[in-house]
Amino acid sequence: MGHTIIEKIIGRNTGKDVKPGDIVTVNVDRVMIHDIFIPFVADKFEEMGFTELWDPDKVVLIYDHLVPASQVDDTRHFRTGNAFVKKYGLKNIHRSDGICHQLMTEAGYVKPGHIAFGTDSHTTTYGCVGAFSSGIGYTEMASVLGTGQMWIKVPETIKITVNGKLPEHVTSKDVILRLIGDLGADGATYQALEFTGTAIEAMSVASRMTIANMAIEAGAKCAVFTPDEKTADYCGITLTDAERSLKGDPDAGYVREICYEASDLVPVMACPSQVDNIRPVRELVGVSIDQVFIGSCTNGRLEDLQCAAAILKGKKVAPFVKLIVTPASRKIYREAMADGTLAALSEAGAIITHPGCGLCCGRAGGILTDGERVVATNNRNFLGRMGTSKVEIYLASPATAAACAAAGKIVEP
């Protein structure tokens, strides 16, 4: 019988012919630790009795949630991280370059076929380049740092096919939100999502990142895309035959197959306070809003900012509404400056913050209070995620978010 992409990646890593449900030990290609968890990882690592990293080159430490510190104790995380870097000879460290998930592929740490783990649930993002990546806790990370290995259960795969051409102003964010709504917040728990179809092939790697990033919101272990020429360009590599062959076999065993016709899809929002509470934007038109947030590892990339800038061109953010734009990385920020995107957004009245997690991680960047409503392009609208439990969070695409900012209420892009 044939294999799904994820079975192929795990199979090649372990040298075994694997099937869903097998418990196997994999050799890890990359790990990512971010600032919130480095003190815990460092503690556990030493508590476990390790004295050296299994391979310092494969470890990436990224400060993003706490940069710059909004509470005085936050800087302790930098001090602990810096000490860990020195002590164990870590070379890959980013102290203010942007969001971890953006940097892992942008800076070339994760390539097609890799197996990568990170101390963050949105580690699923790296599936955008055809890697198997998933989030783990800091204790598990400490053991991977020492051993370079991790046991996993080979996941079942759900195949999602999107064929055709997406209508104007319908983005990959609408695709993944719609899918999460259909699957439910736990509809893919322990499973892998494999994306294919002509609409997926037409997407940029950045758009695929949005989808892979949010796979976790359906409970998925990971999400994967077949590496293609766009992937090769993005990663700055020439694809090998092995990498090119990372596609689902026709006779692979899928636990479920879901097909969408792209032209049927419409702009949607995840309504408070579940990610799977999906409704078409047109049903929500007119709901007043206080703030709009465009950013995060889900939708803080150049194409997202360009899309927002195009929609806001010649317009202004509505009075008494704030539009906060947080580019996902230093590189994106600079590119968006170079091509005039940030200037256009600023001209429209956007507040452009430094690259990082910003509002999405709920520690700074535009926290809200009781009775306020925000349209946001990030990945979670959980209760209390961006302030008090009486803040209403609507998740949307950058196109929808930008249109809402100009209107001061929910509108279709």
């Binding site: 968890f37 580690t123 598990e140 053991s143 979670r380 995620r385």
Partner: protein
């Protein structure tokens, strides 16, 4: 792994996410002990203060969905919760809980049957008993039992590294 205990039940709903279990703003507090009072605060601000060691959480589906923050199972463990019974668990939470030696049990029916404040009896890897009715539970895979029996992943690794 065989063990029997009983405890008072706290009932929670479906999709209890990690931001509910411990909100992001408290994650940078120095220790899990410092975070304890804020557990479940977005949903039930008083709950953490009411829980006692040995209590049991019974929840609906997808318990622990959301982020990979390990403080979520840790804070539950720090509150003295003996085990969490849920219809289903989110996967990162599941791994993290096992790695920290927090027992999780999947059961589809108990949630509908219990009322907060009830007492249930748990026989690990066998069944839960409530009001005279028993609810069978599945055995854990061997590799997880190994970690749980070692008392969590840290202890398992210490053993591997010849420290314990």
């Amino acid at each position: 792994m065989s063990e029997t205990f009983s405890g008072k039940v706290w009932v929670l709903g479906d999709d209890i996410d990690t931001d509910i279990i411990i909100p992001t703003e408290y994650l940078a507090l120095k220790s899990v002990e410092d975070m304890k009072p804020y557990a479940f605060s977005p949903l039930r601000p008083d709950l953490a203060g009411q829980m006692n060691p040995g209590d049991i959480i019974v929840a609906g589906k997808n318990f622990g969905c959301g982020s990979s923050r390990e403080q979520a199972p840790e804070v539950i463990k720090a509150l003295g919760i003996r085990c969490v019974v849920a219809r289903s668990f989110a996967r990162i939470f599941f791994r993290n809980a096992i790695n920290n030696g927090l027992l999780l049990i999947e059961n589809a029916d108990l949630h509908d049957a219990v009322t907060e404040g009830d007492t249930v009896q748990v026989e690990v890897n066998r069944q839960i008993t409530h009001n005279g009715k028993s609810y069978p539970i599945a055995s854990l895979p061997a590799n997880l039992v190994e970690i749980l029996e070692a008392g969590g992943l840290v202890k398992a690794m210490r053993k591997r590294n010849g420290l314990d």
